[in-house]
Amino acid sequence: MEIHVISYLILSTVMMFAGIYGFFTRRNLLAILISVELMLNATNINFAVFNRYLFPGVLEGHFFTLFGIAISAAETAVAIAIMINVYRNVRNIQTDDINEMKG
């Protein structure tokens, strides 16, 4: 296994900042959610990589990734449920247009 750890990290950094960029610039809730998934994945990769390279004997990072996947699944489910509900009410899921919750 000759792949240097930094390669993984750079890759996850790219994903992370791609996700951040998407989060900043997208106006569609679903697209934002996609960006969030990217960021989550980037962190998951980091957990796994560090687990493997730093503490190969234990499984903390591994399980963190596992739980992360579970949580993101839950999050996606709830988010999409909300989105559909919002869409049902306002026929739109653009962030700038949804401001009726603001005071």
Binding site: I20, F23, F24, I32, T95, D96, N99, K102
Partner: protein, 628 residues
């Protein structure tokens, strides 16, 4: 002399009764309360005077200074405190007599003059207050007590001038009188502060070592105090309030603005006389010059005024100038030579109070009869008002300095003192004395001789006043006739020692001749129905006549100072500054807070994406900071 406390207590009691319950009383009861209490005060004053002067003199030949009462009223420090008390010495006793007499006469006179007026009770209440304040002033045991009563006198004068408070002129006049004298009192106050600090006491006789130490400051203190005195005594240029003060009821003018309050300044200088002589002779001479100029100024204005009360007012100013001059020409020479002016001044104060009150009360009778102050509405009244006419004539002769009336004696002493000081001063004062005779007889002829005002008489024939009004005239006229023979030198002198007054025959003769010539001139010009000479003179010198008639524009100057300078140039800009700059700054702070909040508010847009951008930026900045 414990009973002297009554002199102060009775008027203040009558004031309180009248002020609190006066509105419930009838006019007669209120008037009686005031008059009777004043009657009692007069009796007590005479008793005091008799008892005081009957006392044996001290070993050094002076009268003892008595202080029957003196208690600490307001302590400042151990040494400085305002005391309230009664001080009896020759001049204060003399003043007691003068004030109580004139005030009593005015109280009686007012019964007739103010009959049926609205606010009759208030009038008597104020009279009592004034009498109280004036009496308190003259018996003051220290300079601060004097100041206290000085202010009270000022305020009662304010209230009395503004008695007809629905008349705009009266309101303006009362305000003016108070503010001008108040302004002058500022000088008095600062003078007192200096005096108190350097002398370590407010009494009139500081300790010798303090005097030595503070000798440098004493002329300043006395000079500033004289500013206060000049304000009350209407010295130029602070005299402007006095002519206007004639808006008050005429008996008030007689009491306050002729006989008593206006001589407070003279009294003040006389009271501090020993200090002036010993430590500030130059200041004393300044007093003389101010007095001389005022006397001349007022006499020249009096020659052309048409309102009879104004004429009398300027005559008062002029005569007070005489008294000031007399005090001012005193020198520290031993025996009574140096202090002659002091005696003369007090003597003149005494006689003047009587005949000037008489003149004013007479003028009151005339105004009562013709319902006007203007000379043009009068003329030929001698047939209708014999008593007034005779008494007025006596007063005019007295003020002109014709023997044997009282004015002759006192004025003669003043002129003698002036000649002793310097011949120039003597001649100047003689000329002014002549002017006095001239304008007084101009007034006299204008009122009692000349053409009758038919139009006016048709509606309402003038008639002699009731006895309540003529009685005081007769009393005062009698006093005027005999007062000159009082051996004043035995009672009041500069050094306290007794001596006999003797007339300086040259001076007496000169002043008599001048007076007679002036009267003759006035007779020549004014006695006939028509007055070609006077008109011709007025036409020949229109500017001068106009200027004198307008009192040499002193009122305009005063108005300029108050309206333009204080109101427009100081107060209005200051108020503007306050509203717009100081307050504007505070409002600007509030506005700036609001505005910056408005600026910050859009950042709290509720857009999570915007927040996260800031969040990221924050992280980057923090990271960079950590790296550094």
């Amino acid at each position: 002399m414990e009973y002297t406390i009554l002199i102060l207590l009775l008027p203040v009691l009558s004031f309180l009764v009248l002020a609190l319950a006066g509105m419930k009383m009838s006019h007669r009861v209120a008037g009686l309360i005031g008059t009777l209490s004043l009657c009692a005060v007069t009796v007590v004053s005479y008793l005091t005077a008799y008892a005081y002067f009957a006392m044996p003199r001290q070993a050094d030949g002076t009268f003892a200074q008595l202080m029957p009462y003196n208690f600490e009223w307001l302590p400042f420090t151990d040494a400085l405190h305002i005391d309230m008390g009664i001080l009896l010495d020759p001049i204060s006793v003399m003043m007691l007599v003068v004030i109580s007499t004139v005030s009593f006469m005015v109280h009686i006179y007012s019964f007739g003059y103010m009959k049926g007026e609205r606010g009759f009770q208030r009038y008597y209440a104020f009279l009592s207050l004034f009498t109280f304040s004036m009496l308190g002033l003259v018996v003051a045991t220290n300079i601060f007590q004097m100041y206290v009563f000085w202010e009270l006198v000022g305020v009662s004068s304010y209230l009395l001038i503004g008695f007809y408070y629905t008349k705009p002129e009266a309101i303006a006049a009362s305000k003016k009188a108070f503010i001008v004298t108040r302004f002058a009192d500022l000088g008095f106050l600062i003078g007192i502060l200096i005096y108190g600090y350097y002398m370590g006491t407010f009494t009139f006789d500081p300790a010798q070592e303090d005097l030595m130490q503070g000798a440098l400051m004493l002329p300043w203190a006395l000079g500033l105090m004289f500013v206060g005195g000049a304000g009350k005594s209407a010295m130029f240029p602070l005299h402007i309030w006095l002519p206007d003060a004639m808006e008050g009821p005429t008996p008030v003018s007689a009491l306050i603005h002729a006989a008593t309050m206006v001589v407070a300044g003279v009294y003040q200088v006389a009271r501090l006389f020993p200090l002036y002589i010993a430590y500030a002779p130059e200041t004393l001479h300044i007093v003389a010059y101010v007095g001389a100029f005022t006397a001349f100024y007022a006499a020249s204005v009096a020659c052309v005024q048409s309102d009879i009360k104004r004429v009398l007012a300027f005559s008062t100013i002029s005569q007070i100038g005489f008294m000031m001059v007399a005090l001012g020409v005193c020198t520290g020479m031993p025996s009574h030579e140096g202090g002659l002016g002091y005696m003369a001044s007090m003597f003149h104060l005494f006689t003047h109070a009587m005949f000037k009150a008489l003149l004013f009360l007479g003028a009151g009778c005339i105004i009562h009869a013709v319902h006007s102050n203007e000379m043009s509405a009068m003329g030929g009244l001698r047939k209708y008002m014999p008593v007034t006419h005779i008494t007025f004539l006596i007063a005019c002769l007295a003020i002109s300095g014709i023997p044997p009336f009282s004015g002759f004696f006192s004025k003669d002493e003043i002129l003698t003192a002036c000649f002793a000081f310097s011949p120039v001063m003597g001649w100047v004062m003689t000329v002014i004395a002549g002017m006095t005779a001239f304008y007084m007889f101009r007034l006299y002829y204008g009122i009692f001789w000349g053409t009758e005002n038919k139009a006016l008489h048709a509606a309402h024939t003038p008639h002699e006043s009731p006895l309540t009004m003529t009685f005081p005239l007769m009393v005062l006229a009698a006093v005027t006739c005999v007062a000159g023979f009082i051996p004043f030198g035995h009672f009041v002198t500069g050094d306290g020692l007794s001596y006999d007054i003797h007339l300086d025959s040259t001076v007496a003769l000169t002043s008599c001749v001048v007076a007679v010539v002036a009267i003759a001139l006035a007779t020549f010009i004014y006695v006939r129905d028509r007055q070609p000479v006077a008109d011709a003179l007025a036409r020949r010198f229109p500017r001068l006549h106009e200027a004198a008639y307008r009192r040499f524009y002193m009122d305009e100057a005063w108005l300029f100072v108050t309206k333009r300078i204080i109101f427009r140039m100081v107060s209005t800009p200051l108020a503007w500054f306050d509203r717009h700059v100081v307050d504007g700054f505070m409002n600007f702070l509030a506005w700036a807070t609001n505005a910056s909040a408005e600026e910050v508010q859009p950042m709290q847009s509720g857009r999570i994406q915007a927040y996260t951008v800031w969040f990221l930026c924050g992280i980057i900045v923090l990271t960079l900071l950590l790296m550094l």
